[in-house]
């Protein structure tokens, strides 16, 4: 496919479980972003990768959140010991370059519900 894909689309977890969310960016895109979108709100930045390097993780809400992009393509966002407040849609976006003017292409998101 030509777009950004994310899996799973929906994830239900019991509080305390670990979850892993996957993002497949557009092939060749250097930059990859993760955002968290609470219900009815705008997305909030979590972390940024330039190729395999995680250059900004200032938005990760706690040390339970971990992201990686080991080969500079697919990325995984892992949440350990999930809490109810982690319930949100997690959006992944990629862009061709590493400058602000590069358009970001978003995936459909993963809706995480923590019971």
């Amino acid at each position: 496919g030509a777009g950004v894909s994310q899996s799973p689309r929906y994830k239900v977890a019991k509080r305390g479980q670990d979850v892993a969310l996957r993002c497949d960016p557009i092939s060749g895109h250097v930059s990859l972003f993760w955002y968290q979108q609470a219900l009815g709100q705008g997305p909030e930045f979590l972390t940024y990768f330039q190729n395999e390097a995680q250059l900004d993780k200032s938005g990760l809400p706690s040390d339970r959140f971990f992201a990686e992009r080991p080969e500079g393509s697919v990325s995984t966002l892992k949440i350990q010991r999930t809490q109810k407040e982690d319930s949100a849609v997690y959006l992944c976006a990629s862009s061709l370059g590493d400058r602000g003017y590069n358009e970001q292409f978003f995936g459909p998101g993963t809706r995480l519900t923590v019971l």
Binding site: S31, P43, Q50, D56, G100, Y101, F106, P108
Partner: protein, 115 residues
């Protein structure tokens, strides 16, 4: 820090009419980009229009145009000849020109187009 404010939680418009969505932002920087994104119920975020702060001319994309008032830090979106497919959540967003692309979003405006 940069902030983006959308003061209209919900708007509605009749098909074929014109509607304007408001956005204000706050920054001390002079080099930045502003965006309007559309998020339909399917959740995939789509770029609608982009404005470079150094450009005085307002951006236009077919039925979509912006009114960029740099001194007032205002960036409104006008949708002409509204169509049913325009029904979506609209987000105003900001990027520093020196940034790799970390987006700061507003809270969003739900737009409903009625037949």
């Amino acid at each position: 820090a940069q902030t983006v404010t959308q003061s209209q939680p919900e708007m509605s418009v009749q098909e074929a009419e014109t509607v304007t969505l408001s956005c204000t932002y706050d920054t001390s920087e002079s080099n930045y980009y502003l965006f309007w994104y559309k998020q339909p119920p399917s959740r995939q975020m789509i770029l609608v229009i982009r404005q470079e702060a150094y450009k005085q001319q307002n951006a236009t994309e077919n039925r979509f145009s912006v009114n960029f008032q740099k001194a007032a830090k205002s960036f409104s979106l006008k949708i002409s000849d509204s169509q049913l497919g325009d029904t979506a959540m609209y987000f105003c967003a900001f990027i520093l020109g020196t940034s790799y692309g970390k987006l700061t979003f507003g809270q969003g405006t739900i737009l409903t187009v009625h037949p």
